[in-house]
Amino acid sequence: MDVGLNHYLLVSGLLFSIGFFGVIFRRNVIFILMCLEMMLNAVNLAFVSFSRFNGNADGSLFVFFIITVAAAEVAVGLAIVVALYRKKKTLRIDELTELKN
């Protein structure tokens, strides 16, 4: 069977679902950040597939911007994680509840 747009979209959707599963069920902040990156990558794959199969370059240009924003997001997120670990000595997300009270 010819590999078409639907195959790439299937892979992208499954990757997004796996990342979503990780964000919801993992309890470590670093793993949650990694699964967020995975979801962003799934969206990138969908963008590139639509861009290629429509013969339009705007989607793949948008992927470039997504990658840049993801790099900035990871840098800030990991800095926050390190600061959080210095203050609270834990990275488990069900113990980081000081905004509740």
Binding site: L5, E37, N44, A71, A83
Partner: protein
Amino acid sequence: MDYFFYIFAFITLGSALAVVLNQNAVNACMFMIIAFFGIAALFLLQEAYFLVVTQVMVYAGAIMVLFLFVVMLLDIRGEHSLRPRMRSMVFCSFLLSLLMVGVVYLFVPQQADLPFQAFSDQTVSAMAPVDEPLAYAKSTKSFGLALFTKYMLPFQLVGFLLLSAMLGVIHLSRRNSNEDTEESLS
């Protein structure tokens, strides 16, 4: 060509599952690098060559090195990786399985005349000519040309975003080190 797609898709999805289910943080980072390389190979199969290089350099190079640094600095021990059972967990897994079923049902390749297929091959070929895909972004030169003419303003804004992210990271780490020295002094 089609075999390559199946191989790389299998590698990507398998290592992504390994990231989610892994206990060891360093192993998870390594599987994440494999997943990023798999996605880069999927980009390569779609002839987005500049994005392949960007993906490998930025994601598999810079971002995962950053993750590995933080994992090794913080010394994360193996603990119960998944959250304990609760009502919202059951609800979330139900929603997630619904999402998976919907994704598979919509996007798995079917006959072209079935109504539930999201984008059949006929619609795509009616939208645009497939024989010349990505006509002006296949080469890095045209990619950069579009980046510096049509997308000049977002390009500048992304530069400012990176600058502000750098300043924010420096501020976040420096303020905490000051607090630590104050605590040790007092």
